[in-house]
């Protein structure tokens, strides 16, 4: 039995997770504490890196204390530490990495610099158990939109496609602003969309032409198309049908994400798909993924929303997989790597 501590600070959530790895390879989640600075960013309409970094420093030790209290564990119970070393915001990552190194030195336990994106995939194993090999992962969040082939969570992850401009979550934030909805844009657009008609407006599906990159995404053009459509209505003095715009925008995002993901699974003959990241909490993306996976005979796995968004539990889970796979720990001169590629699961 191994207790793994996970630390996450790549964006605006300070996350501390504790996971128990049992002898038979099963994981149990013991604590998942998150301190978010999202409200401090709301008035700026997006994450302000310096504001996020300041919040991480303030929240790190208190969040750590809460996690141990919830788990009923002592710091000395920890057998290994995993920390997000990238990708993410440089100044934000540095807070978590520096803290993790100090804890690892003090407790005399191995340290693993872990990939944030691999962590999102690992989050699902906390809820649904081990992943078959291979599986396909669709990661959608405010900072990432990627299709990954996961042969081994601890050692072998390959990028199949990614966004060439905005992440899906970024498009939600920008469209929310056009519609006068609050930041972050995902939840209010999802709520409005449920009242609207998804076929009311035919917004463009990015990179779906015959010569376009088959597994890459683009959401920048969609965002601009929504803004143009809304502005044209306003110019003509017509009322903007907010619910229909939200539903039609959301349909375009969900359509492209799930169509490309299912096509990739079929092309590479992969029978299981994991959808994770903050945007995976979106109701339409989940529903359309379920519908299309069922039609294609693909097993769909989506962690509960709490595990989809950034947290320390997913990093602890990835750390447990690294320990179980016998991966070499990181050195204490580990540093943050803002552009860490997903193929580097641990550093």
């Amino acid at each position: 039995m191994t207790i793994v501590l996970g630390i996450e600070s790549s964006c605006d959530e300070t996350g501390v997770g504790l996971v128990r790895l049992d002898g038979d390879g099963r994981l149990e989640l013991l604590a998942d504490e998150v301190a978010s600075s999202v409200e401090q960013h709301a008035r700026f309409g997006g994450v302000v890196p310096e504001v996020a970094s300041r919040a991480h420093l303030e929240a790190m030790v208190p969040t750590m204390r809460r996690a141990f209290e919830v788990a009923g564990l002592k710091l000395s119970d920890v057998d290994a530490i995993a920390v997000t070393s990238g990708p993410g915001l440089a100044g934000a990552l540095l807070v978590g990495v520096s803290a993790a190194k100090a804890y690892a030195l003090s407790l005399g336990v191995p340290l693993y610099g872990a990939n944030h994106l691999a962590g999102h995939v690992a989050a699902d194993t906390l809820e649904h158990g081990p992943l078959p090999s291979p599986c396909l992962a669709l990661l959608v969040s405010g900072g990432h939109s990627q299709l990954l082939r996961v042969d081994d969570l601890a050692t072998r992850i390959t990028e199949i496609g990614s966004t060439i401009d905005d992440a899906a979550g970024e498009a939600y934030d920008k469209v929310a602003r056009v519609l006068g909805l609050p930041y972050p844009g995902g939840p209010p657009i999802d709520r409005a969309a449920r009242r609207g008609n998804p076929r009311a407006i035919a917004f463009p599906r990015g990179l779906t032409g015959p010569r376009d990159a088959e597994y890459d995404f683009s959401f920048s053009g969609l965002k601009t198309a929504v803004a143009r459509w809304v502005e044209a209505r306003e110019r003509d003095g017509e009322e903007v049908p907010l619910d229909d715009v939200a539903a039609s925008f959301q349909e375009a995002v969900a359509d492209v994400l799930t169509a490309k993901a299912v096509r990739a699974a079929e092309r590479f003959d992969i029978g299981t798909m994991v959808v994770s990241g903050g945007v995976a909490a979106n109701s339409r993306i989940k529903a359309l993924a379920a519908e299309r996976c069922a039609a294609a005979g693909i097993t769909l796995r989506v962690p509960k929303p709490r595990l989809c968004t950034d947290n320390g539990a997913m990093v602890a889970a990835l750390g447990a997989h690294l320990v179980a796979a016998g991966v070499e720990p990181s050195s204490l001169d580990l540093s943050a790597t803002p552009g860490l590629p997903v193929s580097t699961v641990s550093v």
Partner: protein, 221 residues
């Protein structure tokens, strides 16, 4: 009392292990210092480990941690502060904050002193100290020209810290906060066994962030 001192408020990545006797100045047992403004996150914990090894001490023997709280460039400063906070938590030892400029001043006792460090963006962090070593003004962040205009009013006759502006004054003391300076500045609090103050960074500047104005239209009017 065995004290671990860290500071990352300047380009120096500093860790030291010291003995603070009941009376008199601290004795430096070992220190590790690298001057590299980009390496704070990478090197501080290895420096702590290596300084302890060189001193022949284990982390568990440390009685207290002293941490420079700036002012200093934000990202590097946070690396030191979160490291100190985590060490204190993991070891269950107090972490005592020290203004990093005070640590520099502690190693240049004597006549009224100005301490400056590089705040980048053509500004300096500064504080002034009286003949007894007490801080009389600052810490603050200003353009060097503005600080130069205040020297007479501050009554300082010497300058310590970053060798970037000497303001025509004799340069004394260390360039960066040292382990000895940090522990000297915290000595009274350490000896009294007092509850540590808040471990709050001295940023002295607000984050660069502007609230967005009206949304820009994408279509031509």
């Amino acid at each position: 009392m065995l004290v671990l001192a860290v500071d990352t408020s300047t380009p120096a990545v500093t860790a030291g292990v010291l003995d603070l006797p009941a009376d008199g100045p601290p004795t430096l047992l070992a220190e590790r210092v690298t001057v590299d403004a980009k390496a704070h996150g990478e090197l501080l914990t290895p420096h702590v480990r290596d300084a302890l090894a060189a001193a022949g001490k284990a982390l568990a023997e440390v009685d207290a941690v002293v941490c420079g709280t700036g002012p200093g460039p934000f990202t590097g400063l946070r690396a030191g502060m979160v490291t100190a906070a985590a060490l204190g938590h993991a070891l269950d030892r107090p972490v005592h904050p020290v203004c990093s400029l005070d640590a520099i001043a502690a190693e240049a006792p004597g006549d009224p002193l100005l301490v400056v460090t590089d705040a980048r963006r053509r500004e300096v962090y500064w504080a002034a100290y009286g003949p007894g070593g007490a801080r009389t003004a600052g810490p603050d962040v200003v353009a060097p020209a503005e600080l130069a205009g205040r020297l007479a009013e501050l009554g300082v006759t010497r300058v310590a810290g970053a060798r970037i502006f000497d303001f025509g004054l004799p340069v004394v003391g260390p360039e960066h906060p040292t382990p000895v300076g940090l522990v000297t500045a915290a000595a009274a609090v350490l000896r009294a066994g007092a509850e540590p103050g808040d471990l709050t960074p001295l940023y002295l500047r607000r984050p660069d962030a502007v609230e967005p104005g009206a949304r820009k239209r994408v279509s031509r009017a």
